[in-house]
Amino acid sequence: MDKTIRFKLNGKEVRVESPPERMLLWVLRTDLGHTGTKCGCGEGFCGACTVLVDGKPTFSCQFPLAKAEGRSVLTIEGLARGGRLHPLQQAFIDHGALQCGYCTPGMILQAYGLFLRKPNPTEAEIADALEGNLCRCGSYNRIIAAVQTAAKAMKGAIHEAR
């Protein structure tokens, strides 16, 4: 049965008419046309679908739409501001921290969520925070370097998730 669900997506109010038990991933990708969030495994084992919900990294393939009601969702499309890349995005480019790019949106948002909790993470803390995000191309070493660079560039001044 359809229900009206309202939430903030990348800073803008959105309204979805949908069965509320559907997973947020599919609503984002299909109903809202935000295809930057990827489906890697569909069962919460790979992290490709990571988005932020009220600043918390969340596997959107396991997050029912109903729970998004009234909350704030950030996807990869909402990270750059006015065409200016977020320091994390720039660092991923500068370190070559991606190959096929399929896991990249989830990686970046997981790292963003880490910054909100801990603006200056150690290498071990970065690896630990990203442990649930898989990269089959094997860019892990460069991703860690990119996250470290981004942390330095921001000097702890992470802006709040929208």
């Binding site: 559907r22 890697g40 084992f45 790979c46 480019i93 096929c100 995000n133 089959r136 094997g138 070493n141």
Partner: protein, 725 residues
Amino acid sequence: MKPVKSRDDEYTMFGPDGPGTGSALERRQFLKLAGGGLIVFFAVGDGLALQEGARGGGYPDDPNAYLKVGPDGRVTCFTGKIEMGQGIITSLAMMLAEELDVPLEAVDMVMGDTALCPYDAGTFGSRSTKYFGPPMRQAAAEARGVLVRLAAARLGAAEEELATKDGTVYIAKRPSKKVTYAELVGGKKIEVRLEKKPPIKPYSKHAVSGKPTLRTDARAKVTGEAKFSGDIRLPGLLYASILRPPAHGAKLKSADTAAAEKIPGARVVRDGDLVAVLHERPDVAAEALTLIEAEFEPSASKLDNTTIFAHLRNAAPRAEVVVEAGNLDEGAKLAVKTVERSYFAHYVAHAPSEPHTAVVQIEGDRATVWASTQSPFRAQGEIAQTLGIPAANVRVITPFVGCGFGGKNQGGQIVEAARLAKLAGKPVQVAWTRREEFFNDTFRPAAVYNIRSGLDAENRIVFWEYKNYHAGSRSSQPVYDIPHKRVLSFGGGFGGGGAGAVPAHPFGTGAWRGPGSNTNIFATESHIDIMAETAGLSPLEFRLKNLADARMKKVVGAAADKFGRTFAKAPTGRGYGIAITDYLGTYVATMAEVEVDKEKGAVRVVRVVCAQDTGEVINPEGARMQIEGCITMGLGYCLTEEIRFKDGRVLDENFDTYEIPRFSWLPKIEVVLVDNPDMAPQGCGEPAVTVMGAVIANAIYDAIGVRMDTLPMTPARIKSERKTD
């Protein structure tokens, strides 16, 4: 036994109908699609012709690669190759920019579009730079020659007086007298075919190629703008969820679809065994599929992981002689010590980040396809056959592909989407779930290896008898200087040679990054280590002693310098390993350090050093990324990756039980690119992955004195071997 030529580059898993033949590009159609500008045609070299010839396709004689200098001075490269992470979107553009003297930023890549790009057999085998690169370079040199000719007329100067830089032709002695490529092309449609090929730039003049360069597709990928096949949205698009059997070989008996059809908006379509739910929301289609009550015949397969190796030996087809030299009996007479051992490798999944996906739109007798594929032209042929329309009416567009590793040479999802689109009368997307991916994948074949070899009193390898069953022949030849040797491959194709009287494998098998090689090297280089110990020498000293190839010795030396540790006769308790290979002309020497928890059998790879000679390196940064990726990915097939199965069922269905490398596994990785610009560029996407099994096995032996003969080297196997050794 009569030696036959090893068909090293053959892919056997092309399905019953063989490779797609593709369609010759009609020049008129191309010009229409590509728009105005300078177009130069060129022909490919022998390398690609060889590749294509090996696959038995009927390939067009037309010039099959193109580039375009547009009216705005931008250069478009058309290549049938695709981008799946390996980075040729950047390195091919660099080669083009270098040769044409335009900034890298002025190059646009059109990849894997069958309507625009020249025929290509597929993107695999680390062959793009090696085989597509040279003819493209030549074409760029020709385009530059044409522009210089046009400029000579415009500037009133002789061609010899002119030079090119940054998309401009100028008089070398009076640089202010110049004309841009854009002005020369001027929006006109100029089609030029040069009769004489101008020389390409020498390496010493390179300003773009050879310099570390960041990926040109990175910005699109960090912003979410990069489109993959599943991101294509069309009016009326329906998403399919397909009914799958519980086991391979299980035939559908009946399907009650009544409950699924009651879901609002759901359509159930059926074509023989293909039963699918279509819906405008993919998750709703998937939900409806669970309501279908289906019955299947049981699978006839009675194999599982414990019985597979005996079966593979029994199911072996006739052997292919990969190499035969000297006389094994003579060699055995020279030997004072003989070593014989068997090795085993289990099935491994490609597990690409992006599961197989395709969108098919049919309009009248034409079809447009967006697919995650390594072989768009093959897909074109398959779709044409499926829909009963000419191949020229099928356009396959390849968006970004999220990993391939050989698994996307096969594309069952494309044909499924075409069949469903035809049934539905609407565009259809098929995106395999991760479970479907683990079921429909063409796994790296499980295989068995037997090696018997001997040492003389001087600790030289005097004979080498190698047999593999279903591994494939690539890299099955030893790189060492051995007078008496014979290498036999029973089931030489990468699909594991399932063509014998008994089906070899319970499911599809195929090429997996460094096909054949990664398990052949595991067996070979493990065995070399055993021989080193038998000789009483360090694994490094023993290798150098038995190598004759100076280029290989240099690469081994480069790795050893970087590794900075002294090897000694194993086991030393320190956990150092080494493995080397010649992968289709790319030389690799890798050294690793591991820690092993003896009680738990758990291996922690601490450090990996890889030295690689790839010939001329186009993009050192891209090469490093590929090598690092090979090392990281390779840890999976070393330590955990194994498809478990029983009676046709695949028991590993997602990343909870099929463990691939993650952040916590990450060793320190150090890459040495061995300088060799005088050699033409070799392949880079696969070589470094192929030594990983052996280097880790050898390091484990050095750490705890336990010889692991089976991939993957799981904690359970290490504990078990420890008891028996």
